[in-house]
């Protein structure tokens, strides 16, 4: 009974989030964020433990795996755009991933955060399913890293275009790649509204960043020591 109840509640809360996004067009109305708030509130009210909830919704969580595999499809559709740009894009994404992860770790350290927070912060720029897997591997809190990823995606969707203007980055390809590198799918959805070029490059950067970040994991482990 509780399995089907929480499965239903989770999917219904997500659907409500989708409805809200359609109605408001606000970057704050992310279906995942809306669903997390609703389900979290219901669990607190009903006194359900997270372990019970996680057991009940294991079916949904399992689908993260095949969905991660499916990220190859947009990558395949957009890869032709990389013609002649592969090396610059890979260099930029690698530099960005190193700066983003190392600065995340060091900022936490300087401000007196715990080591487990450093490990949770490190991979938050990557799309949530990959963040969860990587945080597990690094010894951070996977659930918290997923929330960091959602939050940073929303931040990107809200302010990235303006910040890029301030930074003087005007080339549409560079804008798309930069947002996809640090704000994954939620940022990509926003860049698709700016222009198809920015959206396509953002999606491309999201997929490539996931791969680059995985390969950089030994370096991150070294910084964390």
């Amino acid at each position: 009974m509780s399995t089907i109840l929480w499965l239903f509640v989770t999917v219904a809360a997500y659907e409500l989030g989708r409805w809200l996004r359609k109605r408001t067009h606000s970057p704050l109305a992310q279906p995942a964020a809306v669903a997390i708030v609703i389900v979290g509130a219901l669990m607190t009210v009903s006194g359900t433990s997270y372990d019970d909830y996680a057991d009940a919704t294991a079916l949904i969580t399992f689908l993260l795996g095949p969905a991660t595999v499916a990220l190859a499809i947009p990558l395949y559709h957009q890869v032709a755009r990389l013609k002649g740009l592969l090396v610059p894009v890979l260099v930029a994404l690698t530099a960005g991933a190193v700066v983003s992860m190392v600065s995340g770790i060091l900022l936490v350290r300087w401000l007196g955060g715990s080591e487990v927070l450093e490990r949770t912060m490190a991979t938050k720029s990557v799309t949530a399913p990959v963040t969860i897997a990587l945080a597990e591997r690094l010894g951070g809190y996977p659930e918290l890293s997923a929330c960091f990823a959602i939050v940073i995606g929303i931040v990107g969707a809200m302010i990235a275009p303006r910040v890029l203007d301030l930074l003087g980055i005007r080339d549409r390809r560079a804008r798309g790649i930069a947002v996809g590198a640090v704000s994954h799918g939620i940022g990509t959805a926003r860049m698709l509204e700016e222009s198809p070029v920015e959206g396509a490059f953002s999606g491309l950067a999201m997929g490539l960043t996931a791969v680059v970040t995985c390969l950089l994991l030994p370096l991150v482990a070294y910084v964390l020591h």
Partner: protein, 129 residues
């Protein structure tokens, strides 16, 4: 539908097996993503009717649903977050901004060089006003 699902699960299975056997630090589903990418490139079938692309696109359109249960886990960490608000907020925003600027500037630099050496200044750049 089932054929597409089989491809996705098959790539995840192969990816997980490769990751476990070789001990590389890459999660199995990410290796599976690379495998599926290779499969798509080799097959060169682009049609919307392709079962893998149909099922995969549907999965991706609801990607956010799949990480809701993990995200709900944040309620376990509310006290942890409250105790570390400053490092969390500063590190999140600071590393985001530094990452964004690094990628944007490095790539802009490359693109400017490329368009200069090609002698087509601004043409492929599609710059906005």
């Amino acid at each position: 539908m089932i054929v597409g699902l089989l491809w996705l699960l098959g790539c995840q299975l192969a990816g997980t097996a490769i990751a476990e056997l070789t001990g590389i630090p890459v999660p199995g589903p990410v290796v599976g993503m690379l495998l599926l990418f290779i499969v798509l490139v080799v097959r060169r079938r682009d049609g919307e009717s392709d079962p893998v692309i149909q099922v995969g696109d549907y999965f991706l359109s609801h990607l956010q649903l799949f990480f809701v249960p993990a995200g709900v886990g944040v309620i376990v960490y509310l006290a942890f977050i409250r105790d570390a608000v400053a490092p969390i907020v500063v590190a999140l925003l600071g590393s985001w901004l530094l990452g964004l600027a690094t990628v944007g500037w490095v790539l802009s630099l490359f693109l400017r060089r490329l368009s200069e050496s090609a002698g087509t200044e601004g043409a492929p750049g599609e710059e906005i006003e």
